[in-house]
């Protein structure tokens, strides 16, 4: 706890500085850049790249959450139980497909830009959310579910008032995993011209400029760590607030 209270603001400040005032870090990165090459990435603003990166991740995760949760609800109802193995297979396939392959297949259909990246991130986000939601919905406390029926809640009321609220924590854990995977995976979107922080890394790789690679990697890494941490805090707060820890 003590470490977090100091470390967290420090990392936030470091991230803000890296994104908003990259020139401050020129002395640090200079030894890593080749002779005469630029030390700080300046082809486009790191702020706009960061926002576009985060926007892609947020849009893909939101869509994945919506579909995965809807699917999980469906396959945990009596009417949908028969589809559970099939839906598992499909979401698992989404994961085993290499992201580069998804991009390669999606480009001819969707063209260059954000489209293929969104598809890849969406597919990668499905599995953890789906698995966690199914697990949560199938392991609810039996006495509570019996009582929910026994006192006269209908199906919808049971789902909305009891099942989903009780599943929320485990669901959020799935969403957290998805977000972190997406933050990293989004970088390769730059190979098909999506605007992400991957642009900085790829520029560095193409010109042998380790300073760029480190700069891009550091920003993506810090976003991942801080967002992960924020979601963990949110889960802990929810658990305390609802007595479901």
């Amino acid at each position: 706890m003590k470490v977090g209270t100091i470390l967290r603001p420090a990392l936030v400040l470091l991230l803000l500085a890296l994104v908003l005032r990259p020139e401050w870090f020129a002395p640090v990165f200079a030894p890593l850049a080749p002779q005469g090459a630029p030390v700080i990435y300046e082809r486009s603003s790191l702020l706009s790249l960061s926002l576009s990166h985060l926007g892609l991740v947020a849009a893909a995760t939101a869509a994945a959450t919506l579909i995965a949760v809807a699917l999980a609800i469906f396959v945990t109802r009596p009417a949908g139980a028969a589809f559970r193995p099939l839906s598992r297979t499909i979401t698992n396939m989404g994961q085993t497909f290499p992201p580069v392959a998804v991009l390669a297949l999606a480009v001819p259909v969707l063209g260059f830009g954000a489209g293929p990246t969104l598809v890849a991130l969406f597919l990668y986000g499905l599995l953890p959310i789906f698995e966690n939601t199914v697990t949560a919905l199938t392991t609810l406390p039996p006495a509570t579910m019996e009582a929910a029926r026994g006192i006269g809640l209908n199906r919808w009321q049971r789902l909305l008032r009891v099942e989903l609220p009780l599943a929320l924590l485990v669901m959020l854990t799935g969403i957290r995993l998805s977000v972190v995977i997406a933050l990293g995976t989004a970088t390769i979107g730059s190979t098909v011209a999506a605007r992400t922080l991957g642009e900085v890394i790829i520029a560095g790789l193409l010109t042998n400029n380790t300073a760029f690679v480190l700069q891009g990697g550091l920003i993506v890494g810090l976003f991942a760590v801080l967002i992960y941490d924020a979601l963990v805090q949110l889960e802990a707060w929810l658990a305390r607030r609802t007595g479901t820890s």
Binding site: E146, A147, A148, R149, I151, G152, Q157, L166, T242, G243
Partner: protein, 311 residues
């Protein structure tokens, strides 16, 4: 009045409940007792249609339970189970107010009812209202579970081993509470247990089940004095039979004129308590008092004679 009419439930080739017929009077506690697997839970769950009967029918105040949609029927029938089944993400107040809220009561009315029930169960409303179930002891969780079942003043309260998870001392207190509250509210209760002691202690009527069949349906005194089958006799326990019987008879039935040494006992106490007092203090009689005045005594000999009557 609850009429259970030839109720049967068959799972595959196993008959869980086998042609059970019984009538429960309004304002009484009926305890369904039997060994594990005898069909008690299935019988109870058919009353609020958590389980649909294979054949037969249940009528509440003359109206078939099939006439109402199951979830609407259940809002009129209280339901409390072992392990309480409280909603862990709702406060005590929201748990207790769940059914009134479903029935569309106004906020103020619900709040007043919640506080009334908490007080009835000796839980200070201000201290408990906004706690979560995880912040309560086992006994308190159980009381909130029963309060939730009573909240909308249901026609009937079904309880499935409600005290099964409590330790013996807390269980005895919970039973006394239930008895007191039932008398106070005049509720009709059907309660399932595997514990004959609990059945005799709580029931106005006791229904004994064995292998899905209702083998005896009678008052506790009759069950003890005249068990209908060897199975019932075994459940009552031969050794303790006289003692169980004595625990049902108040001192007022055997009180006679005369003096006795030592502390007086109230006329409402049981012969079993008087017997214990005699044995414990080495007396041959105990004084009996009513409303603070001594009205006579009960002798050890009289208690013994009464016990032998049924031996």
């Amino acid at each position: 009045m609850i009429e259970i009419d030839d109720l049967t439930k068959i799972y595959g080739d196993a008959t869980a409940v086998d042609h059970v017929t019984m009538t429960v009077e309004t304002g009484t506690i009926t305890v369904i007792v039997g060994t594990s697997g005898s069909g008690k839970t299935t019988l109870l769950r058919m009353i609020n249609r958590l389980e649909e009967p294979t054949s037969g029918e249940v009528r509440i105040n003359g109206e078939s339970t099939l006439a109402t949609k199951p979830h609407l029927l259940r809002r009129r029938i209280g339901y409390a189970i072992q392990g309480h089944g409280l909603f862990p993400h709702h406060t005590v107040a929201r748990n207790i107010g769940a059914v009134p809220q479903l029935l569309g009561w106004e906020r103020d009315k619900i709040r007043a009812r919640v506080d009334e029930l908490l007080s009835l169960f000796s839980m200070e409303p201000a201290a408990f209202r906004s706690r979560y179930p995880a912040e309560l002891s086992g006994g308190q969780q159980q009381r909130v579970g029963v309060a939730r079942a009573l909240a909308s003043r249901p026609d009937l309260l079904l309880m499935d081993e409600p005290f099964g998870a409590l330790d013996p001392i807390i269980r005895a207190r919970a039973q006394d509470d239930l008895r007191r509250i039932q008398r106070q509210l005049g509720s009709t209760i059907m309660l399932v247990t595997h514990d004959m002691e609990e059945a005799i202690r709580l029931g106005d009527m006791v229904a004994v089940m064995d292998g899905g069949k209702l083998v005896q349906y009678a008052t506790p005194a009759e069950i003890i004095a005249e068990p209908a089958t060897p199975f019932v006799a075994e459940m009552v326990g031969d050794v303790e039979r006289p003692l169980r019987l004595l625990s049902l008879i108040p001192l007022s039935e055997l009180v006679e004129d005369g003096e006795a040494e030592g502390a007086a006992m109230p006329a409402g106490a049981s012969l079993r308590d008087a017997l214990a007092a005699c044995l414990w203090t080495g007396r041959s009689a105990v004084p009996v008092e009513k409303d603070g005045a001594t009205i006579g005594r009960v002798t050890f000999a009289a208690i013994r004679a009464r016990a032998e009557l049924h031996a």
